[in-house]
Symmetry: C2
Subunit: 121 residues, 2 copies
């Protein structure tokens, strides 16, 4: 494969950093996180069911799914009028689970923003 910039162990190329930022940005939305978690549980779901699960309008959920689809995080399968969405792999879930772990860790340590400076009178 294209192993020209295979420096995942060292400092990854800055171009790859932008890609990673895009990936993290995709998963930085609560609605999309819920979509990923819902698909992790139910394997295959149409837009309507996902919209109800995450508590958003179907049209909005469709937009979110379009993004996840563009990033190859979900795949689709047509079934009548419905389009069943499914996770492409476990990478997205792994990322979300890691983020949740980090969030719980931060909460456990007390997430009070420590001001390094004298705040303000």
């Amino acid at each position: 494969m294209h192993a020209d910039t295979n420096d995942a162990r060292r400092q990854p190329s800055w171009e790859c950093v932008d890609l990673a930022a895009e990936v993290l940005s995709l998963l930085s939305d609560p609605t999309r996180i819920r979509i990923v978690l819902a698909l992790h549980h139910d394997e295959e779901l149409p837009v309507n069911a996902l919209a109800e699960l995450v508590g958003k309008k179907p049209s909005g959920v469709s937009q979110h799914l379009a993004r996840l689809r563009m990033a190859r995080m979900v795949t689709t399968r047509q079934e009548g009028t419905s389009v069943l969405y499914r996770l492409t792999d476990e990478h997205a879930v792994a990322l979300v689970v890691e983020a949740i772990r980090q969030a719980e860790h931060a909460v456990a340590n007390g997430q009070i923003p420590p001001h390094h400076h004298t705040p303000r009178s």
Copy 2:
């Protein structure tokens, strides 16, 4: 015990999803990713050095560092006039590395648009 929203679903509580979204949002910026990677490589760095490494103004880097500090992802140590920044743990790096892996995976599988607007093929 207090019955959370974890009634029938084994998924993380929805409140935690918002926290995870904030964590991922923190890491969804290329500059902050570079900061995390730089600190992973050099262990301890002042604002000026980080600013030069990531190619941004020190004031902007300081703002990014303030965010990472609020999220307990970095800790500070004063040394003279400089403030040395250091990663709190490896969680942030793990998240970034996972994202980079996912990005490379997506690239290997096809195309991931740097910007989410496809030019009407």
